[in-house]
Amino acid sequence: MISSEEIKNIAKLSYLEINDDEMEEIRNSFSSILEYIKKLQELDTDDIEATPSIIELESVMREDIAKDNNGDLINAFSRSKNNYLEVKKILYNED
C-alpha cells in the first residue's frame, strides 16, 4: 500500500493538496491501480522500440507573425494589464 507521505509528495508535484478526509480513498484506489498496471512487468520488452506516437511527427515551421489575434483570449485572463497577463510577483531581490 502506498504511504500517505508518498501521496502527499505526488500531490505537491501535481500542484494539488490532499486533505486527511480524502487520503484513505486516494491511497486505496491508487494502490489498486498500481497493482493492476504492474502487470506489464510480466512482459520481456528489452528489444522492443517504444511507440510514443502512432504518427511520425514533423516540426512545422512558420513565420513568427501573429494571426487570428483574438482579444477574447485576454478577456479570459483572471487579471490583465495593457493586454498582458498579470500574475503575482515570483522573483524577488535578496535584500
Binding site: E22, I33, L40, L43, T51, V60, A76, S78, V87
Partner: protein
C-alpha cells in the same frame, strides 16, 4: 412536426423538398429538449439563440441553392468542443464560467456547411470516465433505461442522439469515449484513424490517443459527418491527408482473446449471433489472435494519465478558469476527485525512479499491441468483437472499485493505442443495447464503414 427517428439523410431530404424549413426543424428539436432533457440530463448548455440564428441562415443557404448534406441539420457537441462565444466547461467546476474565444476546427467546418448547433452535452469531467457519473454537474441517464448510465465519457452526446434531442452529435474518444456510450445507448459511434480529424479547439486529455468523431443514428450518417470534418489542419500537426483505395474484400477476423472470462454471457451470445449474420451476408470469418490484448488496459492506464498530467498543467486559473487564491488552491478546489487521481497517477509514473518501470515500459508494450494488429490485418480486413464487456450498468453500481469501471473499456483502449479506426454499431435486440465493435485498418475508414453498413442496413 414528427422528429422521432429522423436521420441526416431523411432530414436533408425533407429540407431539400421543402417539407419543412430548418427553423421549423430546429424549433422541433428545441421543443423536444425542453420536454425530455429534464429527465435525461444530456445537455450542459442549450444554445437556443445560436441555433435559431444558424437555422435562419441555413434556410437562406437552401434558398440560394448552396446546400450540403449537413445544411440546416441540428446537432450537438460534447462540452469539450470550443464554440466561439459559448460556454465550454468540460463538465468541470474549473471551467464552469469559461467562454470559448474561438471555434474548434471541427465546429468551424460544420458551421461553414450551415449546420445548426443545439447545445453542449455532458461528459465525465475532462472526458475521464466511462459512465458520465464523473461530471461535476449532474449524472446523465440512459434513455433506454433511466436507472442506468449512458456510458462515457461522451455520454451526453450518445443520450441526446438516442432520445432524438438532436440528429447527430460530436464526441471525442481517448480510450472508447465515443464507442462505449454509443454501445450503451443503442446508437452508432465512430472513432476515425488517429490523425484524420483535427483536435484543434477540443480540450485535450491524452494527445497521442485523442480523436474526434461522430455519434449518429446509423452508419451512413457517420460517414456523412466524417467526410465533413476530416482533413489536414494547420492547427493540429498530427493531421494528415490520405486517399483510400476501394476494396471489395470481406474478411472478418475474430480474436480469441476477446471471448474470455469477464465477458457478459448475453453480450457474448449477441456478438456470436452477429458473426453468424455476417457469415450469411457472405463474409469470410477468420479466427485470429491478438496475444497482448490482456495488457492493453494496463498500458492505457499508464499512458493516458501521464499525458493528462501534462495537458492539465495548463489549468492554473490565471489564463482562464477559476481563480481564487493561487494555483494550488484553484486546482484543489475546482478539480473533481477522478481528475485529481489521474493527474497524480500520471505525475507518479513520469517521476524520476518510476519513469522506466512504468511510462517507458508502457510505450514498449504499446508497440507490441500495435504489432499484434499489424499481423492480424495481413489476414483480415476488419476485426469484430464486443464494444463493451458488459451491458449498460446501473447508476452507482461501479463507484466503489476504480478498476471495475476501468474494465468496461477493455476492448476499446487497444484501438486508441494503435491509432486505428473503429465503430460501434447496435446489435438488433429488444433488450438492453449491445454494441458490435468493428476495428479497421489505419486510414481505411471507407472499407470499415462499408462493412459496418452491411449489418446496419
Amino acid at each position: 412536426m414528427k422528429i422521432e427517428n429522423l436521420t441526416i439523410e431523411s432530414a436533408h431530404k425533407g429540407l431539400k423538398n421543402g417539407d419543412f424549413t430548418s427553423v421549423e426543424l430546429t424549433n422541433a428539436y428545441l421543443q423536444k429538449i425542453e420536454e425530455k432533457d429534464g429527465e435525461i440530463k444530456a445537455f450542459v448548455t442549450v444554445t437556443k439563440d445560436l441555433a435559431l440564428r444558424q437555422a435562419k441562415e441555413a434556410d437562406e443557404m437552401i434558398k440560394r441553392g448552396e446546400m450540403t448534406m449537413l445544411t440546416g441539420i441540428p446537432c450537438a457537441f460534447k462540452d469539450n468542443y470550443l464554440i466561439e462565444g459559448e460556454k465550454c466547461t468540460a463538465s468541470s467546476r474549473f471551467l464552469e464560467n469559461y467562454i470559448a474565444p474561438y471555434n474548434a476546427t471541427v465546429v468551424e467546418k460544420l458551421k461553414k456547411q450551415g449546420a445548426v448547433f443545439l447545445g453542449k452535452t455532458n461528459l465525465d469531467e475532462f472526458a475521464m470516465g466511462s459512465s458520465c457519473e464523473k461530471s461535476a454537474f449532474f449524472k446523465t441517464k440512459n434513455p433506454k433505461d433511466l436507472e442506468r448510465v449512458p456510458g462515457g465519457s461522451s455520454g451526453g452526446s450518445a443520450a441526446a442522439v438516442s432520445s432524438d434531442m438532436c440528429i447527430y452529435a460530436l464526441g471525442s474518444d481517448t480510450g472508447g469515449s465515443i464507442r462505449q456510450p454509443a454501445s450503451f445507448c443503442g446508437v452508432v459511434g465512430f472513432k476515425p484513424t488517429y490523425g484524420t480529424v483535427s483536435r484543434n479547439g477540443i480540450i485535450a486529455f491524452a494527445s497521442s490517443l485523442d480523436q474526434a468523431g461522430p455519434i449518429t443514428k446509423n452508419v451512413t450518417d457517420a460517414q456523412i459527418v466524417f467526410e465533413a470534418i476530416r482533413g489536414r489542419d494547420e492547427y493540429d500537426s498530427t493531421t494528415v491527408e490520405h486517399a483510400e483505395e476501394e476494396s471489395n474484400s470481406f474478411k472478418i477476423g475474430v480474436p480469441k482473446e476477446y471471448f474470455v472470462d469477464g465477458l457478459d454471457k448475453e453480450v457474448e451470445k449477441s456478438i456470436r449471433e452477429a458473426i453468424e449474420q455476417y457469415k450469411k451476408m457472405g463474409a469470410e470469418i477468420v479466427d485470429i489472435s491478438l496475444p497482448h490484448t490482456e495488457y492493453a488496459l494496463a498500458c492505457y492506464y499508464i499512458i493516458a494519465p501521464a499525458e493528462a498530467s501534462a495537458n492539465l498543467a495548463r489549468f492554473d486559473g490565471l489564463r482562464y478558469g477559476q481563480n481564487v487564491d493561487g494555483i494550488i488552491s484553484n486546482r484543489t478546489k475546482y478539480f473533481g476527485s477522478e481528475v485529481k487521481k489521474r493527474i497524480m497517477l500520471g505525475t507518479y509514473t513520469l517521476s524520476s525512479g518510476y519513469y522506466d518501470a512504468f511510462y517507458k515500459k508502457a510505450l514498449k508494450v504499446r508497440t507490441l499491441i500495435k504489432n499484434d494488429f499489424d499481423e492480424a490485418f495481413k489476414k483480415v480486413d476488419v476485426i469484430l468483437g464486443p464494444t463493451s464487456p458488459c451491458l449498460p450498468f446501473k447508476i452507482g453500481e461501479k463507484q466503489e472499485d476504480p478498476m471495475a469501471m476501468y474494465l468496461s473499456d477493455i476492448y476499446t483502449v487497444s484501438v486508441n493505442l494503435a491509432g486505428l479506426p473503429a465503430i460501434s454499431i447496435p446489435f438488433k435486440t429488444e433488450g438492453l443495447p449491445i454494441g458490435i465493435h468493428l476495428i479497421g485498418q489505419s486510414f481505411r475508414e471507407k472499407e470499415l464503414l462499408k462493412i459496418a453498413n452491411n449489418y446496419d442496413r
